[in-house]
């Protein structure tokens, strides 16, 4: 059994009057892929956005309870979100590269965190990040071209490269393949398999097959509640909960 990297305790999230998450207690293991599944609007994305405090952006959003990363509560108001997000990267549903060159897309993070003081160090970070995200071979000759000129799948891998450029410990992926075709999806999945050797990964997905393929642990959310969590194999072969059973067999959702 691997170490627990992130532990949420009685996590509640409210958007104004509406409660989006109810007492979520979920452990995420280090260097493992945890998949979060569930019907739309069930709170999966809300949950992962708590891990890097992206919900702070939304004025009406209120988060109570604890999320501990390596034993430190990251839901603490005094915690510096900038250094938290340096440790917890995120990849979004729709690829969102900056409208800048491929190089600038990746060097931006290291630059603002003061990593890669010299040009050659920065070049090295860019090259490593692109290699880790399996994009290097495709773009090494055109690092000056805008990131937006790449195909959808390449853009998403560019966003993954951007996330790992600051050398985080955790990568959050919010339906990273939902806007991609099957071939691009396969590439990203392969990549996730490779990345889990170094990073703790949480992936939100609507594809049951994807969850089975990439994750070791799966959590099923429904209407803001964590219904069931366990080893992926167990959740998909022999879930304890009737609702989980119904969802994975496609009876609702």
């Amino acid at each position: 059994m691997s170490n627990v990297k992130i532990k949420s305790k009685n996590l509640n999230v409210y958007y104004g009057d509406k409660q989006a998450l109810f007492d979520v207690n979920l452990d995420l293991n280090e260097k493992e892929v945890t998949a979060l599944i569930g019907p739309s609007g069930c709170g999966k994305s809300t949950f992962i956005r708590c891990i890097n405090r992206m919900n702070d952006v939304i004025d009406i959003c209120k988060v109570t309870g604890n999320i501990e990363m390596d034993g430190i509560n990251i839901n603490d108001k005094d915690l510096d979100v900038v250094s938290l997000r340096e440790r917890v990267g995120m990849v979004f549903q729709k690829p969102n590269p900056f409208p800048k060159s491929i190089y600038d897309n990746i060097s931006y993070g290291p630059k603002i965190h003061g990593k890669g003081e010299t040009k050659s160090e920065l070049d090295q970070i860019v090259e490593n990040s692109l290699k880790k995200s399996a994009l290097w071979e495709e773009v090494k000759d055109r690092l000056d071209e805008p990131g937006t000129s790449l195909s959808g799948g390449q853009q998403q891998r560019l966003c993954i490269a951007r996330a790992i450029s600051v050398n985080p410990e955790v990568i959050l992926m919010d339906e990273p393949c939902s806007a991609l075709d099957p071939i691009a999806t396969a590439k990203i999945e392969e990549l996730i398999d490779e990345l889990k050797k170094t990073y703790t990964i949480v992936i939100v997905t609507h594809s049951m097959a994807q969850a089975v393929r990439v994750s070791q642990k799966t959590g099923f959310f429904h209407l803001g509640k964590l219904i069931e969590v366990g080893k992926t194999e167990k959740i998909f072969k022999n879930p304890d909960n009737k609702m989980t059973q119904d969802y994975i067999t496609g009876r609702f959702g």
């Binding site: 979004f92 969102n96 590269p97 603002i112 805008p146 600051v166």
Partner: protein, 420 residues
């Protein structure tokens, strides 16, 4: 109604609509053509002025200075007698009355023009040179064909004898037209042939410069704060509504405000580009904030999230990503706001820019005119020469506006980045 009939009816309705659309575009184009044609036909002649080629002899007896005189000596010297003595020789006049009529064919600046020739070459005493002297407004308009010479004499500003002289000049090729440098270099004047937009151009330039320096930074910072940093609550909503309302306030109200506060209370100098610039800045501020906020709003939230997710602070995400992306829209909004300010007349009238100012302002605190106010002033003048000057000034103003709008469109298309 059968199916075919209904289908036919739908097609007919579409055809009718296209026809109405074409007609309205045609009507709109027609108005533009009429307007432009009208301004051009009236104004284009103002870019030329009529000159009378005259021989000038610098007689030592009539001048109290010597060859090689210093600049100051020449400036102070009297060239009046030289002017009279030479101009009356332009046509063999028989008596004093005829000489007077002859002299009236030259502009009021003939003496100065002769003096300038001497300033260029202070060794002219005892020599004869050929000078192109500006003709008076009446001859100018007559020569340009704007003045009907077939009216009876008592209804003409030009006497029969002056027409005889004019015809003599034409016959001897002494009268011609060349580029009207006075129109661009001179300030306002009571004499149309000497009046120019130099003062108005400089006044407008200073006003717009001050307006830009005041309005642009304030508007951009206000937009960025309101759009990106301000909490969404009742106070920011109230501010937003008020900005939209201020953009719709008639410009003359800003003129009244400036009159009361800038002139009466703070006692800033009246009729100056400084006050005009501040007034226009107040008026332009909301008109820049609105497009500025719109272009900030148009930057997709995913860009902000992308920046935040790699650990950028709010400030960094805004100034590294959102603002550069919004810049083309911001700049073009600013230029269009300034173009509106450039054409604004009403508030400037209230702060005293309608004053008759001959001198070209050398600083923003000198009394001055501005282009639209100059149009307003000249359009009220009776002399024929001012009709073409008015239209020519409108042409200048319109070309500035077109250039500014073109720059705005260019900036937007050139620098606008596309995402996905």
């Amino acid at each position: 109604m059968t199916k075919e009939e209904r289908l036919k009816k739908r097609h007919r309705a579409e055809k009718r609509f296209r026809f109405y659309g074409l007609i309205s575009i045609f009507v709109a184009l027609l108005f533009v053509v009429i307007l432009v044609q009208n301004i051009f036909s009236k104004g284009s002649s103002a870019f030329k002025k009529t000159i009378i080629t005259t021989e000038v002899f610098f007689d030592q007896e009539l001048l109290e200075i010597q060859n090689g005189a210093s600049q100051e000596e020449i400036m102070e010297a009297d060239f009046y007698d030289i002017m009279i003595e030479n101009l009356i020789k332009a046509y063999p006049a028989k008596n004093r009355d005829e000489e007077d009529e002859l002299l009236k064919l030259f502009s009021g600046d003939a003496e100065i023009e002769i003096k300038k020739a001497f300033l260029n070459d202070n060794n002219l005493i005892g020599k004869t040179i050929t000078l192109d002297l500006t003709a008076s407004d009446d001859i100018d308009q007559l020569h340009k064909g704007n003045y009907p010479r077939d009216l009876p004499e008592e209804r003409r500003r030009i006497s029969d004898f002056q027409l005889v002289i004019y015809d003599y000049f034409v016959e001897n090729k002494k009268i011609s037209k060349n580029f009207n440098n006075y129109f661009f270099n001179n300030g306002d004047s009571r004499d149309p042939e000497l009046a120019g937009i130099g003062g108005a151009l400089v006044g407008s330039f200073y006003s717009i410069l001050i307006c830009l320096l005041l309005a642009f930074p304030v508007a951009v910072l206000a937009s960025i704060y309101l759009e990106e940093f301000a909490p969404k609550n009742k106070i920011t909503d109230f501010i937003e509504i008020n900005i939209n309302n201020l953009a719709a306030v008639p410009s003359i109200v800003y003129g009244l405000l400036a009159l009361q506060i800038l002139l009466a209370t703070i006692q800033l100098p009246r009729s100056t580009p400084l006050v005009a610039g501040i007034t226009l800045a107040l008026m332009t501020l909301p008109r820049i904030i609105i497009p500025c906020r719109a272009s900030l709003k148009a930057v997709p939230p995913s860009i902000r999230e992308g920046a935040l997710a790699v650990g950028a602070s709010k400030f960094q995400s805004v100034f590294h990503h959102v603002v550069p992306l919004a810049l083309p829209g911001t700049l073009s909004g600013t230029i269009i706001g300034l173009a509106q300010a450039l054409g604004e007349t009403a508030p400037l009238i209230l702060i005293g820019m309608v004053a008759f100012v001959v001198d070209i302002p050398s600083s923003p605190i000198d009394p001055s005119s501005s282009l639209p106010v100059q149009v307003y002033l000249w359009s009220e003048s009776a002399e024929r020469g001012f009709v073409e000057k008015t239209s020519a000034t409108i042409m200048m103003l319109l070309s500035f506006l077109i250039v500014m709008n073109f720059i705005a469109v260019y900036l937007r298309q050139k620098f606008e980045k596309r995402w996905n």
